[in-house]
Symmetry: C2
């Protein structure tokens, strides 16, 4: 296993004083992890260095052809001062799935967990303590060959940056209003939808913008082929509880394999709640809503963990779910998953990893 060199900053930043008002994704810590890839040499020169701008050639392929992948996870501080990660091995395994689709060389997940541990220990005073706060971790890979033809790059940077973030819901867990997107498509089978790569997010911006103009929080994406199967909600996976059974779209190539999605399914099974991964049409959702059988709906993702959906708009049809209130299942899942993440609850499925 390669050495990881450490160069500490000589000009540490002032840490945020008010953990009640931490923004999401705007404050970065003093250091970052960096590693190079060169064809013939593999990944090399793993290092922890002061956070700062990267000198990037204007012809770097990432700026033109979006050959880039990323991950997102969090470090949580427990009440007794330990720092926990939540299933980090899943992130680095998924990163290799994204790498394969984007023609980026694979990374070693075990080495990356070691590197991440080391980076977080250097930055341990940046992990906020207030309830609901955490240290957001963003590993990403970018193609840096200065070359203007379309082909996989021969050089890459692997970078990890860290970002103390506030509670995603500073005013509590409020259900969001979502509309069903019938014009734009996020991705399609045969495309890159299952990979965590910039292009999927670029494709989603316009629909998100239009949703905000109409005072909706996000859109519910339908499949790009038949435009009837439910896929994701904004940048989250989506779940519905129908007559007691929880259903979520099956992974079929166009849906991101979310780690909160996987954890939600596993926790529901652990509890004995029936859960199905299958195709779900928007017509089915509308029908069960009409019949009074749509108990709850929620999105799952790293940032929000569980995001209850209070209203779905599909064309002229408005479906109010659980009277626009948080349902008991969403609440139980939120409390359990966040309880495990912050070390307040037992961890029966052994998901947390202590940084030490």
């Amino acid at each position: 296993m390669a050495e990881i060199s450490v160069e500490l900053t000589k000009t540490p930043k002032k840490k945020p004083q008010d953990e009640h008002h931490l923004p999401f994704g705007d404050i970065f810590t003093d250091h970052m992890f960096l590693m190079d890839y060169d064809e013939g040499q593999g990944w090399h020169d793993a290092r922890i260095v002061p956070y700062g701008p990267l000198p990037i050639d204007p012809a770097a392929m990432v700026l033109h052809y979006a050959q880039e992948v990323f991950e997102g996870l969090k470090a949580y501080k427990t009440q007794d001062g330990r720092i926990l990660l939540f299933r980090p091995e899943e992130n680095f395994k998924r990163m290799n799935v994204s790498n394969e689709r984007l023609c980026i060389p694979p990374i070693d997940p075990a080495f990356m967990i070691e590197a991440l541990n080391k980076l977080i220990l250097v930055e341990k005073d940046w992990v906020p303590s207030l309830e609901g706060t955490s240290l957001y971790i963003r590993p990403f890979i970018i193609a840096t060959d200065p070359h203007l033809g379309v082909r996989p790059s021969h050089h890459y940077y692997f970078i990890v940056i860290l970002c103390p973030v506030g509670a995603y819901y500073p005013e509590g867990l409020n259900p969001v209003k979502i509309y069903v997107e019938t014009n734009y498509v996020r991705t399609v089978k045969g495309g890159m939808g299952f990979a965590k790569t910039g292009g999927n997010y670029a494709a989603s911006l316009k629909a998100q913008d239009e949703a905000h103009e109409q005072e909706y929080t996000q859109v519910l994406w339908l499949d790009g082929v038949e435009r009837k199967y439910v896929e994701e909600v904004g940048t989250m996976n989506v779940f519905f509880q129908i007559n007691g059974t929880v259903v979520t779209p099956a992974l079929q190539g166009s849906i991101l394999s979310g780690i909160t999605r996987k954890s939600t399914i596993e926790m529901l099974r652990y509890w004995g709640v029936p859960v199905e991964e299958r195709r779900i049409t928007i017509d089915e959702i509308a029908q069960v809503a009409d019949e009074g059988h749509l108990d709850e709906a929620f999105g799952t993702g790293t940032a929000a963990v569980i995001s209850p959906i209070g209203e779905l708009k599909w064309g002229e049809k408005h479906m109010v779910i659980n009277s626009g209130e948080i349902g008991p299942l969403s609440h139980r899942l939120y409390d359990t998953l966040t309880g495990i993440q912050w070390g307040k609850h037992p961890d029966p499925l052994h998901w947390t990893h202590e940084v030490k």
Copy 2:
């Protein structure tokens, strides 16, 4: 109209000596054009500065969410020493179409043509003279907010870099072998296929890699919905001559509106050759090939101009087109378009723009 400041390099690079062996996309000139966008301020600080690395924050949105668009065109040196551009207004108009889809603020095409003129005059000694060589021009916009949430950026760079390039076919215009892609999808209606943005190219890398492994030059993309309508070939638009009539896929949201495509259609009409923009299934192509009615096939794009297709493989079926030779129509189009671009032929449709 804003001023464009100029800061000349103090360390000019050595220009390539051997124009017979210019690579494509690896050599960059001494200067680049740069302009900032800030919310509330608009595009500002247009400037020509020495070419060099950009200091980019590792959290810059382009590196994570691929909010980026680009264009590609060329400057050509005529035998009497003038420098011509080919329909540059079309590139900047199309850039605004891409911008709109990617939630990037629009640019002023007239100003950009002025800026491009100025940049090329600064770099006029970098425009190569040898037959078939040119100065490739890459305007692009990248989102640079250091922010890890998914939303349109509030700051952008507009950059133009220049790259002397060799003849695309140093050994002459040889027909290429293409296979019909039935697994991967480039884009789909409702997606970003009509925009010139990184994500579409990232999505294409894997298929291109697999084509190369099978010793094919590129893939022919089918639509992502029914997987039967022909869309593009590699990074080019595609044309077929069937029984004397030229057909090309109609623009329906998933196909890039190529400027060489448009020029090909207009030139064919000028010549009185029948040309149709419509949906074309791969079954129709296979059928007319079997019946001996597929006269010619070719791709169109800025880099290659006209790229004749000598063979199409679709599953187990091999279609050899015009005995694998360049057809007379492909040849006439190539000679005419490149003749206009290099100022050797009359320009009946007024496509060229002299840099002065």
